[in-house]
Each structure stands twice: as C-alpha cells, then as structure tokens.
C-alpha cells in the first residue's frame, strides 16, 4: 500500500507491504516499531536510532509528539489520493462546523450573536472549567448560527454550543 504523509509543506512517500517491507522515499528501510505497554506510545528503532513518540489518531490527521515537538501529520493512502484527485481539493471548509464543548463547564460569556460574521480565530464562547476561563475560537471564517447555550449555563462534554456555517 502506498501512502503520502504531509506535514505542513513537506510530503513524504511511503510504501508499506507488511511492516517488514517498508519503502521510504524509494529505499527499503528496516524498522522495529512497537506500542509500549499497549498504549499510544510507540518505540521505533530505525538504523539504530531510537525514537519514542506519542501518536494520536484524530479525526482527519495524526498528532505525533516526538522529542518535545508536535507534528500534525495527514496520511492518505492510494485510494484516498485517487479520490481526492477526482474531486475539488478545497472541499474541507465547506459544510457546517459545530462548536462542541471540549469539557464540562460553565458558559461565562458568548461574545458573538447569531448571524454575525466571524473570522478564523475570533472568540466564540468563554467556558469556565478547572478554575480557568477558556476561550473557544472559530477554526475558520463563517457566520454564527443557532446558538444553543446561554450565559451561566452548565454544559456537558461534547455538547454542541453553536454552529458556524
């Protein structure tokens, strides 16, 4: 199986035909890769270098925390690359974004109104949790729709609070 991994503007090509047959950038590499204690910590030996990283699978990428640095990696396989080639490459920002509560907490303020236009990074909601006020920001530009919470309300984790369309 061929893969393309992308980190910011760098791309890497890998071919994995079983874990003892990995081709990186055209060359075979021998690696020893394993999860430690069944957790999402992975130890990899490659050419004697010992790397240990926390690799977490997110919705549309993988987060790799390696030697004190975070890498956001997008991995696509052959099939996905073909599919992407066929459609427009800018489909991601379409559709609604639902802002969910990352943790249980108390709504302290809602600096936006319905139908208001927001830019990427604008504050949408201030949520108090763990004795801190946390600002939840918009991941992209759009219009605020359907605010479902009010100031002073307690919200549960993953509760949808508003929508950006």
């Amino acid at each position: 199986m061929k893969y393309i991994a992308t980190i910011e503007d760098q791309t890497f090509e890998f071919e994995i035909n079983g874990e003892d047959d990995i081709i990186a950038d055209g060359d075979h590499v021998a690696i020893d890769f394993r999860s430690i204690a069944g957790q999402s910590v992975y130890s990899m030996l490659v050419n004697g270098r010992s790397y240990e990283a926390l690799v977490q699978v997110e919705d549309d990428n993988l987060q790799v925390l390696l030697r004190g640095r975070l890498y956001i990696v997008t991995v696509e396989d052959e099939r996905q690359i073909r599919l992407r080639g066929a459609s427009s490459s800018q489909t991601i920002q379409q559709g609604d974004f639902h802002l969910t509560s990352p943790m249980p907490g108390l709504i302290v303020s809602i600096p936006v109104k319905e139908d208001q236009e927001v830019s990427e990074g604008d504050r949408l909601i201030v949520l108090e949790s763990m004795k801190m006020q946390n600002e939840l920001k918009s991941p992209r530009a759009g219009i605020v729709r359907n605010i479902r919470v009010s100031i002073g309300e307690n919200v549960d984790q993953d509760q949808v609070m508003l929508t950006i369309s």
């Binding site: 199986m1 893969y3 991994a5 992308t6 980190i7 910011e8 760098q10 890497f12 890998f14 874990e19 003892d20 990186a24 950038d25 060359d27 075979h28 590499v29 021998a30 690696i31 020893d32 890769f33 394993r34 999860s35 204690a37 957790q39 999402s40 910590v41 992975y42 990899m44 030996l45 490659v46 050419n47 004697g48 270098r49 790397y51 990283a53 926390l54 690799v55 699978v57 993988l62 790799v64 390696l66 030697r67 004190g68 640095r69 890498y71 990696v73 991995v75 990352p102 943790m103 249980p104 907490g105 949790s129 763990m130 004795k131 801190m132 946390n134 600002e135 939840l136 920001k137 984790q157």
Partner: protein
C-alpha cells in the same frame, strides 16, 4: 498537643501534607468529594471521610463539615494547604473556636494581608516600599478611581481587594479604557470573592516577580529562606519557578529578606508565609502582597535549603522553636520547578480531562515529583489543572536546566494532554537560559510555534511513525515487527531526512 491532622484539601498538596505528617508520626485524616474517592490522598491517609459533591462549594469549601469531621475523628489540628479555605480568616477562627489548632498564621494576620488595600497600608507604615497605586482605602468609588488613575499613570492594573489568582484583575492602557474594564473587574471580583472592591496599582514593565519564604515561630523568631523567582507566568498563573533568582545578588537578597521579615512582623506573623515583590530593571523592589499560607512552589526552596517547610509548619503549630537560625540558612545549588498542568499547549492551553492511562515519572538524581495522580485516575473538570510538580536540583543553574530538560523528555503521561512541551520549549529558549525574562515574557515574547521551529526537524520520522500507525489502523491488525538481525537499512535515507534546523 495534637497527634492527628485533618487535611482540608485535595490533590498533590494533600498528599504532600500527609507525607509530612507521616514522617512526623502523626495520624492523617483526609476528606474527599464524589470525584476524589480514589484520589491518592484518600489512598494514603489513615482515615478518609466523604464530604460532599464534586463541586468545591459543597465539599472542600464547607468549613462546618470539615470541623465536624475533625472533631468526630479526634484530629487535633487542621492543615488547609493552599487554595480553598487556606486564606479565609473566618475559617481559621472557626477552627480555633472549635478547640483545634489551625496550621497556619493567626486569623488576624490572614485578615490583614487578605485585604490587599489594608496590607499595603500596613506594610507602608512599617517602612516597606509598595508598588505605587491607590493607598489605604479599599472602598473606592468609580469616580474616585477615575480621578486617581491618571495620577498613577498608565499602564496600570485594576486588582480585586479580596483578590488572588488573577481573578478580578484587568490591565488598563488608557483613561478611555478605564470605565469598561473597571466594570468587568468589579463584576469578576464580585462573582469570585463576593466582594466587588478593587484598587489600582501601577503596572511595572520589565519587572520580575520575586518572593521570599518566611518562617515565624511562636517565640518571636522570624527567618526567611531566600527567594523564589516566579516571573514565568501566563494569565497571571505561575508556570515555572526557580530558587535562587538569577536576578539577585547576595546584597540585594539580604536587603529584600530583611524587608520581607519586617513586613511579616508588621502583622505579627506566625508559621509559613510568602512575601511577594516586584523588582524592576534597576533592582528597585516593591511589596506586592503576602500569601499567608503554604505556596505551590515551596519545593524549590526546600531543595536549595534542605528544610522541609511543611514539617516546619507543623512543628511551629506544635509550639516548637525554629530549629534554624537565619545565619544557618544557606542556598545550596539551584532548583527549578515546572508545573505540569492537564492542558493543551498547542490549543491555547485549553484544559484537558480524562483518565490517565499511563504515568511514567522521571526519576534519578536531583529529581523530585510531587503529584496526586496515578495511572487509572480520572482528571475531572471540577478542580484546577495542576497534576504534578516536577522539581530538579543541580549544583549550578546550568545543571538544573539540563537536568530538567532530560526529566521533561522522560516524563510520559497518557490520557490527558499536558503542558510538558511548553516547558520543554521554555527550557530551550535562549532568553530563559540566559536568565533574561520578566513577567511578560511568556505572553509577549514566546510562542510554541517559534520555539519549535528552532528545534531539530524530525518530520520524516514523525511522518513515518504516523503512517505506520495509520496503516495499522487500516489493517486493524497489530502484529509486531521484528527487526531482522542483519541490518538491511539504507543509511543514506536517514542522512537525507534527519535534518537539523537549528536556528
């Protein structure tokens, strides 16, 4: 004389106090809320009592319940830790009225230092310099404040009279901003402390936050254990502390220490406390406030002085004389503390909750970890995000920094996100290493992205690891790759990809 102590707290500080009691042969009584039945302080204590729901107001803030449990269990003393009821003079009074020992200062000193305006007035009278601002009166009207503000000069800070922890605090850059920010500050102070009173303080730029640890016994002895440098803050929350401060020399240390003792004596201080100062570029220093309790960052002082501050607190409360004289206090080597919080440094430091699935502590020479969590424990949203304190000691500041770096690299906590990468970036920054930082450093001069851009680029490795994990996810198989004994790797691939982009 008491032989059993009720610990009116939770988390790492409750564990810390239990340890001190146990090492002194005293019995320990823990209390717990619904969220904390399996917390470490409950596991380690001799006795543990349920106290109420996970909301602090129903449990850890219920002075009446705490005192009832102390009486019922036969505890003779109450240690409040920090936070919760630690700086509430009414609680200290209640404890004493119940015939129990409050392990802390006299209620009058808590009250005097708790009202920040009163505290400023009292220490000023004792000849201690304070940060310029509104003096004396605590109940200023909006009009009075608008009047005084330009005389102090901008930028300035609005601070809650009953304040602490950055609540009810606002920075004001100009007269125009004042009315809105004043309203917001009063509102926050009202909701946080039930008291909307505020005062003004000049905002010192390029200032350092340096505090002195005080110990005072009931026999008229007051000493200080040197300073802690606490300038590395974000949103007025301390993140990293060290002792000594790279900014002080022996002469200034001595002078500030004497002033700290004088300020403590002004309120007839007893037990452990901390005098916070701001020190400006020209090494001029100003009293900021006194924390009338054990401080989160007390371990750095313990590491350089060899004195166990919590044990001293208990000894003092048992009426003992201080064992150490000022002339015998020596700061040996250097200690740094990193506060490890359950929060995501890559996502605006948003708190993170969940079950800790693995915890591998850094250990070895010169490393200390104070924590209340373990693998299997659930980090709840009800309390603060501090999950552990990592403290490293070295013969020199340089050695302490290098040791802290290796300890951070070793530390593995899975299940919640932590600010460990933030600390790694701070400890790699040239300004921190050179000791050139002030209270604005983190917010104004530091960014995770910039910090990481300067590091070794292991993008190819990260990409490969991510791809194998994605492949496994796809295959839903998890066979383990065994490295063949004969190494078939191609070395040039590594050479090409493991680039070093040191800035």
């Amino acid at each position: 004389m008491f032989n059993k102590v009720l610990i009116a707290n939770r988390g790492e500080i409750a564990v810390r106090i239990i340890r001190a009691c146990r090492e002194l042969g005293l019995g320990t009584v823990a209390v717990f809320s619904d969220a904390d039945r399996e917390a470490l302080h409950v596991r380690y204590a001799d006795e543990a009592y349920y106290i109420g729901s996970s909301h602090a107001r129903d449990s850890y803030l219920r002075g009446d319940k705490l005192i009832a449990i102390a009486k019922q269990s036969g505890a003779g003393a109450v240690h409040p830790g920090y936070g919760f009821l630690a700086e509430r003079d009414d609680f200290a009074h209640m404890v004493q009225d119940a015939g129990l020992v409050f392990i802390g200062p006299r209620p009058s000193a808590i009250a005097a230092m708790g009202d920040k305006a009163t505290a400023r007035a009292m220490v000023t009278k004792a000849g201690v310099p304070v940060v310029p601002g509104t003096e004396g009166e605590g109940s200023l009207s909006d009009e009075e404040i608008a009047d005084i503000a330009p005389k102090i000069g901008f930028p300035l800070l609005i601070k809650a009279t009953a304040g602490g922890g950055g609540r009810g605090m606002r920075e004001v850059k100009s007269q125009a901003e004042l009315p809105d920010l004043l309203r917001a500050a009063r509102q926050e102070a009202e909701s946080a402390f039930g008291d909307g009173n505020v005062y003004l303080e000049k905002l010192l730029t390029k200032a350092r936050h340096i505090e002195f640890q005080i110990l005072a016994d009931d026999h008229g002895n007051i000493i200080h254990l040197g300073e802690r440098e606490c300038s590395l803050q974000r949103r007025h929350q301390k993140l990293l502390e060290e002792s000594p401060s790279p900014f002080l020399d022996d002469e200034l240390r001595k002078e500030m220490g004497q002033v700290a003792i004088k300020a403590s004596a002004a309120v007839d201080y007893l037990n452990a406390g901390t005098i916070e100062f701001l020190v400006d570029e020209d090494q001029k220093f100003y009293f900021l406030e006194m924390n009338t309790r054990l401080q989160v960052e007390h371990p750095v002082t313990e590491m350089v002085t060899g004195i166990d501050i919590v044990k001293e607190q208990i000894r003092i409360s048992r009426g003992r004389k201080l064992r150490t004289k000022q002339k015998d206090v020596r700061l040996q080597g250097w200690a740094i503390e990193c506060r490890i919080n359950a929060e995501d440094p890559y996502n605006d430091f948003l708190p993170s909750t969940g079950k800790i699935t693995q915890s591998l502590l850094p250990t070895g020479p010169g490393v200390r970890v104070d924590t209340g969590v373990y693998a299997g424990f659930e980090i709840s949203p009800y309390y603060d995000s501090l999950i552990s304190k990592l403290i490293c000691w070295g013969e020199t500041r340089g050695e302490a920094i290098l040791r802290m770096r290796r300890a951070l690299e070793e530390y593995r906590i899975l299940g919640v996100k932590t600010n460990i990468p933030f600390h790694q970036n701070i400890l790699a920054s040239t300004r921190f290493i050179a000791g050139r930082y002030d209270t604005r450093f983190v917010e104004e001069r530091f960014s995770m992205d910039q910090a990481e851009a300067g590091k070794k680029n292991l993008a190819a490795i990260a990409a490969l690891m991510a791809t194998i994990v994605a492949h496994r996810e796809g295959q839903r198989a998890s066979q383990i790759v065994r490295k063949s004994e004969r190494d078939t790797s191609n070395w040039k691939w590594m050479g090409r990809w493991e680039r070093v982009n040191r800035s």
